[in-house]
């Protein structure tokens, strides 16, 4: 510390102002100015970076998949395309769903993605009326209930029937088991 600073301090001592010293005041102002600059330049950037979580999610759209009368009690696989806007990349990837009727005639659609490690399941490959995953031999019932290996039941698509057509919406957790 310089003599000059020291001198100033002693000169001020007799005054004994209450509150903060000059040096403290300067430090606080400095901190304030620094905080303002830091905030001024970084806040827009942070908002820019966290935009994905603050973006309004587009509500699920319904996609026409298949005629109602084609659905049987046995699950069948149906392919459909969704329109996907991924930032600047627009694509129409193909998804598939296993759609069937339960004993009381309600339609439901299951996602083919195994809840174990994400392989693709299919119906009745072992002739035991179960969904089977080829990777680690996970089994699910027709309702998607997990029997072996997998920790959770299969996901379900939102489903609605309109004018004889089956429409599928976004994926949700299984509601049937």
């Amino acid at each position: 510390m310089s003599n000059h600073e020291h001198h100033e301090n002693t000169a001020h001592k007799p005054v004994k102002r209450s509150g903060m010293s000059r040096r403290q005041f300067l430090s606080y102002t400095l901190g304030g100015a620094g905080a303002f600059m830091a905030a001024g330049m970084s806040l827009p950037m942070i908002r820019f970076a966290v935009d994905p979580i603050l973006k309004k999610k587009a509500g699920g759209t319904w996609i026409k998949v298949v005629e109602e009368n084609k659905i049987t009690n046995d699950p069948q696989e149906f392919k459909f395309n969704i329109h996907q806007v991924d930032g600047w990349y627009v694509s129409d990837p193909e998804l598939s769903a296993w759609i069937s009727k339960d004993s009381s005639g309600n339609f439901f659609a299951l996602s083919p993605v195994c809840k174990h490690l994400g392989c693709t399941i299919s119906w009745n490959t072992e002739k035991n009326n179960e969904y089977v995953c080829p990777c680690h031999n996970a089994h699910y019932t027709k309702d998607g209930k997990n029997l072996t290996v997998a920790p959770k039941p299969l996901d379900e698509y939102e489903l609605k029937i309109d004018k004889g057509w089956v429409y599928l919406g976004p994926i949700k957790a299984n509601t049937r088991v």
């Binding site: 040096r23 300067l26 400095l30 100015a33 303002f36 600059m37």
Partner: protein, 292 residues
């Protein structure tokens, strides 16, 4: 600790024995400040506060600028676009303009790209070794100062000439810089209520009746501006011809082809095409509707 020091003992650092301790007082006070006693002050907080005050003002001004004036973005790069007037960023304009002068271009291009800039920047880089006098005041070292002032004047002059030339070219060819054009379009789209919604990309609009003999006339007369695939050329302000039947009736198309449009941007074809040919082309164009 491996030697069984008590853990609460203050660690004592032993200096690196290979480094010889400097004789004399430790050099804690930087040389300058002790030689200029006076109203000097500590870097933190006193001086830095003043610096940061300036910083705050600059930052506010800067943010206002970024909000008021969005960064320009034109249309995607198209190497075949011959109408585009190339322009380097402003701080390279002086060099760009300099190279246009005949005595540094053509046979003398080496002088222009390497010679003179090399000497100038080399001299600037090595200034302390060229100007070795003790005198620091600029008015007491006239040669150095004169050279610098001369370079500055030519720098500003060249930049200005280049910029004026560019503006002149723009006016002559009746071009609006792309990023302005694009912004205007976006504003118009927002005004007409289409804001935010994506327009159907022209490429996906199919050409109706592609084997029509009218295509021959189109190939000869139209595709130079409207692009061989009829998608238009935005920087030449030539609209897409795909889907043109949705926006214009046949009568309008006849009028445009016969008499031109947009102050000559679309030329008049009444000299070049016969009435039958115009009819043939416009009939075909009117059929160009988006498939439902």
């Amino acid at each position: 600790m491996a030697h069984g020091h008590k853990s609460n003992e203050k660690v004592v650092f032993v200096g690196d024995s290979r480094v010889r301790k400097r004789s004399g007082a430790p050099n804690t006070v930087p040389p300058d400040y002790s030689s200029y006693p006076g109203k000097s002050e500590a870097f933190i907080p006193n001086f830095l506060l003043k610096e940061w005050m300036v910083g705050v003002v600059v930052l506010v001004g800067f943010l206002v600028l970024t909000i008021a004036e969005p960064a320009p973005l034109g249309y995607p790069a198209d190497p075949t676009n011959a109408a585009f007037i190339p322009m380097p960023d402003w701080y390279f304009l002086f060099l760009y303009q300099f190279l246009k002068y005949p005595y540094v271009a053509g046979d003398y291009i080496v002088l222009g790209t390497v010679g003179i800039p090399g000497v100038a920047f080399g001299a600037l880089l090595l200034a302390p070794f060229l100007d070795t006098g003790k005198e620091r005041r600029f008015y007491r070292r006239p040669v150095t100062t004169a050279l610098m002032v001369l370079s500055l004047i030519s720098l500003f002059y060249l930049t200005k000439v280049s910029w004026d030339h560019y503006q002149h070219e723009l006016a002559k060819t009746n071009t609006i810089p792309e990023h302005h054009l694009r912004e205007e379009k976006a504003r118009e789209a927002a005004m007409s209520g289409k804001g935010g919604e994506e327009q159907q990309p022209v490429a996906s609009i199919p050409i109706v009746d592609e084997d029509d003999p009218a295509m021959e006339i189109l190939k000869a007369r139209c595709i130079a501006c409207h692009n061989p695939d009829l998608k238009g050329n935005e920087s030449m302000k030539a609209p897409a011809l795909r889907g043109v039947g949705d926006t214009h009736t046949k009568e309008e198309l006849v009028e445009i082809v016969t008499n031109g449009k947009g102050g000559g941007a679309m030329p008049s074809f009444k000299e070049m095409l016969s009435a039958e040919e115009i009819d043939q082309v416009t009939t075909w164009l009117a059929k160009q509707k988006k498939a439902e």
